[in-house]
């Protein structure tokens, strides 16, 4: 509408506008308080807005005309009246604005946001673990280190990825409401009532976000709460948080931003930025507080993988965070996100390093019965298999070599690693190798608690073999550990097998030696029958003892068990056979040969089959065939 020429007409327009505005003055009339203009009638709303425009126009016109003092004084009077009317209008518009916002400020519909076909709500699987993980916890001091099953939930998280893989703005309120808000905002701002507008907007939208948060299950946990909770409980909270954070940043906050942009479209970006920040700053900080609390929790090995999950999720969200919070006033939010990310990385590093220390110091002294695989070995190897699954992230995070040996270990001898041989390996790979080195060092210490040296060797053999099998079983792990080191390990367990054999069988086979049996004297060159009888007796006793004892020892790996038995047989059987062959006649020609030649070759062959089964033999003695 152009400047009207007819002053009367102008006056009428102004007067009727003023009347309308005064009619809706809620401080003046009950009726005005009862109804909301913008809910009543589109027509009413339009009329009201036109009235406001009319008043605003007259305000800018008033400054034109009138140069005389009297006119000026009157103008001041008029101006004051106009300002008063404007204030009434603005107060009304503020309330209308608030009302429209509140009517459309329910929580975000979150159900449609998750892809129902994805497994985003399924429980994480536990079957990443070994089937034969039946751990015999003889020594309860294992428990701290070996406490929890290690879960790998990557699969369930990646499916929610699909549903919120990028920023997706939704309409938070119907277009009509947005139009109305826009119209009101324009008038308020052009009358200088920007501040009120921002205040109202921020307070109502913040409440809406609060209810969305509640729906998404975002809790208000203090740092103290997070420190006190059991890690298992925290794991599910972390999972939930990751899902919720994706929705918050990519959908909720992005949509709020779009809403601000729409409502304050005509009035410049600073204003919609201000409104957006007013709305979203508090909730964003509240969201991040949880992740921050996790990032500063006490470090312990079982936390590694969830922390990596959290790290990865946040890393993934970072570009979206930067896109949504792109103004100067949101610096603190971006900074906090980056800080949390860096703390999570630090936590991961710290946990790894503490894990290495914990393995070194793992103190259980009670030897595992039967020399079988120690629970520590299982735990560590499972753990580093999982680590190799997280290889992608960890390779980025782990940047320094393992610190070999601690100043405070108290031990004189600490494990060592020759880095020269390991040129070209990533720091992560070095850490994994170091972990195996440290594990072996600890196992060596444990093996010394066996009173029987043979058992100690068997123990080492079993455990190192298990390590080798686990490495071979995981391509990522194998690739990082490298075949060179794998060869070393293989050599180690073979060495242990040899040491075992020597420790047990040298003395047994010693009974079957030739020397010392032949007597050359003046009257006869022959065999000393007494010596021979002694030999047989000793051999039998030793064999029985070894059989009785070593049947209860265990080599869990079938192939290894077979191999060792075969190796024993290959030495024992021919030696016995030849001994029998050469000397049985001498015994049989004497009294009670059955006391000395108790066993046939077949008996021995059968007996060897009992070895390393882990069961005590049912008979006291070895069977003997009649």
């Amino acid at each position: 509408m152009e400047l009207p020429e007819n002053p009367n007409k102008d006056n009428n327009g102004y007067e009727s506008a003023e009347k309308l505005i005064l009619r809706w003055d809620s401080t003046a009339s009950e009726e005005a308080r009862e109804k909301m203009i913008f809910e009543t009638d589109r027509h009413e709303a339009d009329l009201y807005l036109q009235a406001v425009d009319e008043i605003q126009r007259s305000l800018s016109n008033a400054s034109i005309s009138n140069n005389t003092n009297a006119a000026a004084a009157a103008a001041v009077d008029d101006q004051s009246k106009v300002n008063s009317t404007i204030q009434i209008a603005m107060a009304r518009l503020e309330d209308e604005f608030r009302n429209i916002l509140m009517t459309h400020s329910s929580a975000l519909e979150t159900d449609s946001l998750f892809d129902p076909s994805s497994s985003s709500f399924s429980a994480p699987s536990h079957h990443e673990l070994e089937e034969d993980d039946s751990v015999s916890n003889e020594d309860s001091s294992h428990n701290d280190l070996l406490r929890l099953p290690l879960q790998h939930c990557e699969s369930s998280d990646s499916s929610t990825y699909r549903s919120t893989s990028s920023i997706r703005e939704v309409d938070l309120m119907p277009a009509e409401a947005v139009c109305d808000l826009q119209a009101i905002a324009m008038r308020m701002i052009s009358s200088g009532y920007l501040r009120e507008c921002i205040q109202v907007y921020g307070s109502v939208r913040k409440s809406a976000i609060d209810s969305s948060f509640r729906k998404l299950g975002i809790e208000k946990l203090s740092i103290g709460d997070v420190q006190r909770l059991e890690w298992e409980a925290l794991e599910s909270k972390i999972r939930r948080w990751i899902r919720a954070a994706k929705v918050c940043i990519r959908i909720l906050f992005a949509s709020e931003k779009k809403l601000c942009e729409q409502i304050f479209e005509c009035v410049g970006t600073d204003i919609d930025d201000a409104c957006f920040m007013e709305t979203v700053k508090g909730p964003a900080i509240q969201l991040f507080n949880f992740a921050e609390a996790i990032s500063i929790s006490r470090r312990s090995p079982e936390k590694l993988f969830k922390i990596l999950d959290l790290h990865d999720a946040l890393m993934d969200l970072l570009p979206d965070i930067e896109a949504v919070f792109d103004s100067k006033s949101s610096d603190s939010i971006r900074v906090q996100a980056a800080e949390i990310l860096s703390r999570l990385a630090e936590a991961a590093r710290g946990i790894l390093s503490e894990f290495e220390g914990a393995i070194l110091r793992e103190p259980s002294r009670v030897p595992v019965p039967g020399g079988t695989i120690h629970p520590l070995t299982r735990y560590v190897m499972n753990y580093i298999s999982l680590i190799s699954d997280y290889k992608q992230t960890l390779i980025e995070l782990i940047m320094s070599r393992p610190s070999t040996g601690s100043r405070y270990s108290g031990d004189q001898s600490t494990p060592d690693m020759d880095f020269a041989e390991l040129e070209g390996k990533t720091p992560l790979a070095l850490h994994l190798i170091w972990i195996i080195v440290v594990l072996q060092f600890n196992l060596e210490g444990k093996s010394k608690h066996y009173r029987d040296a043979s058992l100690a060797h068997l123990f080492i053999m079993n455990n190192v073999h298990y390590i080798v099998q686990k490495v071979k079983g995981s391509p990522e792990l194998r690739e990082m550990i490298g075949d060179d080191y794998l060869r070393k390990l293989t050599g180690k367990f073979r060495q242990a097998a040899t040491s075992y054999q020597r420790a047990t069988w040298v003395s047994v086979l010693y009974c079957l030696r030739d020397e010392g049996l032949h007597v050359s004297g003046s009257f006869s060159s022959g065999v000393s029958k007494s010596a021979l009888r002694e030999r047989f007796k000793t051999f039998n006793a030793m064999l029985e003892e070894v059989h009785r004892t070593q049947a209860t020892w265990l080599i869990p790996d079938t192939q290894l068990r077979e191999e060792l038995r075969i190796s024993i047989s290959e030495k024992l059987i021919p030696a016995y056979r030849s001994f029998l062959g050469r000397f049985r006649s001498h015994i049989e020609s004497g009294k009670h040969p059955e006391n000395y030649i108790k066993y046939s070759v077949e008996d021995l062959e059968t007996a060897v089959l009992d070895f390393f089964e882990g069961f005590p033999v049912s008979h006291q003695h070895m069977r003997r065939s009649q």
């Binding site: 009862e34 300002n83 204030q87 103290g224 900080i285 470090r299």
Partner: protein, 382 residues
Amino acid sequence: MNANEYQGSFLGRISIRRNQVVVMDAIHEQELEDIELFQKHVSDRFSELSSPSDDDAILSISWLRKLLDVFLCCEAEFEAILLMDRDPYQLSKPPFDRLIPELLDRAVKALDICNAVTNGVESVRHCQKLAEIAISALDQKPIGDGEVKRAKRALITLMAAINLDDKDGTNAKSTERSWSFGRRSGNKDRVAGQFRSLSWQVAKNWSAAKQIQSTIYNLVAPRGAEASGLPSPIYTMNVIMIFVMWALVAAIPCQERTGLPTHFPVPKQLNWAHSLIGLQEKIADEWKKKEKKGMAGLLDEMQRMEKSAQSLIDFTDSFQFPGDAEKLQEAAGHVAELTEICRIMEQGLTPLQMHIREVFHRIVRSRTEFLDVLEKGSLPVI
């Protein structure tokens, strides 16, 4: 005393005793000196805080920042004494096996308070914004009915915000909001507390007062032999940390401060504690005075804002266009005061939040260091 100085004097001592390299003695003496120096610094710094200049009245924004700086300095010295060249096994033995975990527990509580206070600064900012509306209304010349009504609306909201009950955000004094509408037919939701602009970021049952109370719990000054060893600076640091957190909570609104403890069980004989205790008592007195009226905290700028706002409300109540010249002038004075306060807030609130954040980071780092040392020192079963 920084690491280099420490090394220097330590080696100096060794070289003096040529015949008896009584290393332990030297270390112990050095340690005692360091502790003494530390406590002297504490005393000096708090003494400075007790005699503020005009620009930083106690519990003003700039004074709070000075307090935070004092904390950071003391903390740095403390960490050096406790952790530098320290054999971790020592810190795992009594009494440290109790003292250190207690310290770390208080540290975690302090972190939550930092977060709550940082959040609370937002409500101060909210008041600032409301005051700015009033200022922009009353800055007009000449002031008419419109401006006055506008200012009054904003001022009433401001006073409601200032007198907010910490607990659930309802206005303790009146349920009248500045809206023109109390209720609408059938829509009972829009009651005063429901759509307050600030909801605390903490859990419903979290209480700043209880949090502070629990940090004071079990705070016992070391006695006898312990008083001259490491337990002493540990106690000092505990007290400093508690005091800083307490002062922040007293100044800045945060959830549930009713029942904020006003007494610290710190023995008066402790030399280093005099200024700190003096400050604490002063602030506690103010708190007790104001607590009954219900207020948004002892922050100096908020106190001043409340006074000016109240005066201006009185002015708006009695205003009639064109207004009494004397009253107008008086009002202008209050507006100027309010403007100054808003300026200080505009410039100071964000830096204050960042400063608190810095303290937060420092406490986290320090705690991590201590946890690290504890981990290393955990005695293996041989």
